[in-house]
């Protein structure tokens, strides 16, 4: 038997006459971690949906472990040993770890519907020990962290005797440490000969864990590279189809007056005694691990949660923020981390989302002026490119990057003095990322004060004038641009401890 586990050849799929995939091939070998890369909409998800039986291709063939296969539905994929770990995990929170792993195939007393609890537990325990999973078989899944749930999905896949595992953005919700654990698991799978197809936007991950990279663009296969012989720049230009001179177009902006000053802000148990300030034209990066309390500080600042103590000053004056509308009135804008849950009303149009926070500015009394609204939007859109058909389109239909731009426009329309960005480029493709960075630079040059919370260290290092590092609800350090490296940030965030 050859070393090639999976061969997809000539895969083609159209939706409404638009080719999502056009004659795409993919080969995955035994024990290999194979990255699948491309911008959003490049066809990665469609290709993986075909492989996991969720979508049927219009043309093309799939060869798995040497024989031609038809994958009619997800069950067929599972039976072949192809398992997909989804971006959004869906274990059942009220059930235990063991019940989730063996859902639908619990060991029973022969001939009865009754479950053999002991055996179920034993089997689960064996699996958990093998993968060093630190929770008992009877733990409710709802109490696990995102990382643990993901690990659980992987263990479940393995328990199905998976012979190929697909991971779609597995680290998007994980902390650095959890990523390490995940990578150890991937290494283990590799040693056992189980290949992994790995989808991610994060370059460092791609370069540290994968063996080969297949790049798609606009539904077409652009090329396959050995990771070791590839460079970041080359990979990006394969993905976007043009060379990128600089990913982080940080420009020098003149730093002006202090805009925001926070003194001793506390909200237990999330954070305590947080003090910092930001000035006009300055980009303040806030780094730290997941759960360090960074987003919580921003939420309290913006009036979403109530702080226990501390003061907030805008342009030197103390302000009371009890509701986001107070924050907006004082010139604060907040691009939240979770675009879909907290940033947008997905069922409404681009126009309505853009003006949602600034309706009073374009209204006469209670009545919205449609002409003033159109003028305000047009004004913004002359500087920001959003890929759309028309303003009345539901925001739901836009790609992640374009949705994020709508959120940013919404906030810019409130004419803020301070813009808080929480993970501004999460889940956004490379091209849109670069655009958002350019926008940040431009806004800073125009005198806006910007606070950027980010878990992507290259982004923090590339865009910030000053960097705060938070850990366990406290500020652990403050550094100027160019003064610190990724490793030092991590070390600082962990409280001086070494990183394994």
């Amino acid at each position: 038997m050859s070393d090639i586990v999976l061969k997809m050849r000539g895969i083609t799929k159209s939706y409404f006459g638009v080719k999502a995939l056009d004659d795409v091939s993919l080969e995955v070998s035994r024990g290999e971690v194979h990255a699948l890369m491309g911008e959003n909409g490049a066809g990665k998800s469609t290709l993986m949906k075909i492989l996991s039986g969720l979508v049927k291709p219009d043309a093309g063939e799939i060869e798995f472990e040497g024989s031609k296969v038809q994958i009619a539905d997800p069950q067929a994929a599972l039976n072949l040993g192809i398992a997909m770990i989804h971006q959004e995990l869906n274990p059942i929170p009220e059930m235990t770890v063991s019940e989730n792993i063996f859902l639908g195939r619990e060991p029973r007393y022969p001939g009865t519907p009754f479950i053999r609890k002991k055996q179920l537990e034993e089997q689960t325990k064996g699996l958990l020990e093998e993968y060093q999973f630190h929770a008992g078989p009877n733990t409710k899944v709802g109490t696990l962290s995102v990382a643990q749930k993901q690990m659980l999905e992987i263990i479940k896949a393995i328990s199905y005797d998976a012979r190929l595992i697909i991971m779609d953005e597995p680290t998007s919700a994980l902390s650095e440490n959890e990523v390490k654990t995940l990578f150890q698991t991937i290494e283990r799978l590799k040693r056992q000969g189980v290949p992994v197809v790995y989808i991610s936007h994060r370059m460092e991950e791609i370069f540290s864990i994968t063996d080969r990279i297949t790049v798609l663009r606009d539904g077409k296969l652009i090329g396959v590279r050995n990771t070791r012989e590839t460079e970041v720049d080359g990979l990006i230009s394969m993905m976007v189809g043009r060379p990128l001179d600089a990913i982080y177009p940080k420009e020098e902006a003149s730093i002006g007056e202090t805009v925001l000053e926070v003194r001793g802000l506390t909200r237990l148990p999330h954070f305590k005694d947080i003090s910092f300030s930001v000035r006009q034209g300055e980009i303040l990066g806030i780094a730290g691990l997941m759960g360090a309390g960074r987003s919580e500080v921003m939420r309290a600042l913006f009036g979403i949660d109530r702080a226990d103590g501390g003061e907030v000053l805008m342009t030197g004056e103390k302000i009371q923020v009890k509701h986001p509308s107070d924050a907006i009135r004082h010139g604060i804008a907040f691009v939240t981390e979770d675009r879909k849950e907290l940033g947008l009303v997905l069922s409404r149009s681009i126009r309505e989302n853009m003006t949602l926070s600034s309706l009073s500015r374009i209204s006469a009394g209670p009545f919205v002026s449609r002409s003033a609204e159109a003028a305000a939007c047009d004004d913004m859109l002359s500087g920001i490119r959003i890929k759309m058909n028309r303003m009345e389109q539901e925001v739901l239909t836009l790609s992640g990057g374009n949705q994020q731009k709508v959120v940013i426009v919404k906030w810019l329309l409130t004419s803020p003095k301070l813009l808080i960005l929480d993970e501004p480029t999460r889940g956004i493709d490379v091209g849109a990322k670069a655009e958002i960075y350019r926008m940040m630079s431009k806004l800073a040059r125009e005198g806006l004060a910007i606070v950027m919370v980010s878990s992507e260290l290259p982004e923090v290092l590339g865009m910030s004038d000053r960097i705060l590092v938070m850990g366990e609800g406290e500020i652990r350090g403050e550094f100027l641009r160019g003064e610190i490296t990724q490793e030092q940030i991590l070390e600082c965030a962990l409280g001086g401890g070494r990183i394994a």
């Binding site: 907006i328 939240t336 907290l342 947008l344 009303v345 069922s347 009073s360 209670p366 009545f367 058909n389």
Partner: protein, 332 residues
């Protein structure tokens, strides 16, 4: 009925294609699908019944739907915020007994009667709204509680006995005509026009849609979600009171037991009209068409001497059919 719609849609591939391209297929298809059902029902009924397509009968239909129409307009706002109001039947009774008790004292005090009745039902609506917006009680439960509380208030207020109305100006509200048009129809049209302006032309209307679409994002966008929600329940209470007073005027008495089950017809009209029970999607036009569909079909079945038992089944089938149509439209 369903296959008819299918045939209609499959006969219009070009139109369907257009909707798909616009990326807004479900709502467009819904709107036209609904209007097609309404027109279809009108055409069929005018063919099989001589009396259906007469001015007298059409005015009759409009008068019959106007009370449910006013209720459904208020319910549209509620459902757009992802809420529900089960108490409107009881609110109708509260407003009716208060208004009729005032005109029973002073037959000329129609203005005061209207004001007091509507204020009472608006206030009770506000209590439901506060319970749900401030105290986090699910709207279903809050308004279920209000349903029995308000009914109790109406019964206590009247000692369980109906209040007889002898005031001609009061009776004019529900029984009168201006030209050929019944007064309740004019009131229904006015309510629709005003509420249409509120929903589509004001900040408040935008906020109603936004809150139903995503409450958290709305709050973070600076919207005072609680206040908007409470106002929606107050407005719905006003409209329920108005409808209750019209009903009491039409039957010339304030009945503490009136309005029972009216909430279900209002909800049915809103749902048939394509407003999502999850909030954020829907239109007033859809609701009006939904109200008319229910009214026309009720009237048609009466004209055709279909038993009222069968009418219940047919109404249920229409509700189910509308939702199925909605699901199919979404899938395209």
């Amino acid at each position: 009925m369903h296959s008819g719609v299918d045939a209609l849609l499959s006969g219009m591939p070009a139109l369907r294609q257009k909707f798909v391209k616009d990326g807004n297929s479900s709502e467009m298809m819904r709107k036209y699908g609904l209007i097609a059902i309404l027109l279809g029902a009108v055409v069929i009924l005018s063919l099989v019944s001589d009396t259906f397509l007469t001015v007298t009968n059409l005015m009759n239909v409009l008068r019959q739907v106007s009370i449910n129409g006013i209720l459904a307009v208020g319910m549209t706002f509620i459902i757009l915020t992802a809420g529900i109001d089960l108490s409107i039947g009881s609110l109708m009774a509260v407003a009716a007994v208060i208004a009729t008790s005032i005109v029973a004292h002073d037959p000329g005090a129609v203005g005061w009667a209207l004001l007091a009745g509507v204020a009472a039902s608006g206030l009770l609506g506000g209590v439901s709204g506060t319970m749900s917006a401030k105290l986090n009680v699910a709207p279903f439960v809050a308004t279920l509680a209000m349903m029995t509380i308000a009914r109790g208030i109406a019964l206590i207020y009247t000692n369980g006995r109906p209040i007889v109305v002898n005031s001609d100006p009061f009776k004019f509200l529900g029984q009168g005509y201006i030209g050929p048009i019944p007064v309740p129809v004019l009131i229904f049209i006015a309510v629709t026009a005003v509420m249409g302006i509120v929903l589509y032309k004001t900040k408040f209307g935008r906020y109603v849609y936004a809150i139903g679409g995503n409450e958290n994002a709305s709050k973070i966008s600076g919207i005072r979600v609680d206040r908007v929600k409470i106002w929606v329940y107050v407005i719905n209470g006003f409209l329920a009171g108005l409808a209750g007073i019209l009903l009491s005027s039409r039957i010339s008495s304030g009945q503490p037991n009136s309005g029972m089950g009216y909430e279900l017809d209002a909800i049915a009209a809103v749902v048939i009209g394509g407003t999502s029970l999850f909030g954020g999607r829907g239109s007033l036009l859809g609701t009006i068409v939904g109200v008319l569909i229910i009214g026309v079909i009720n009237n048609g079945l009466n004209l055709l001497d279909v038993s009222s038992y069968w009418q219940q089944i047919i109404k249920g089938l229409i509700i189910a059919g509308a939702v199925i149509l909605d699901q199919r439209a979404k899938r395209n």
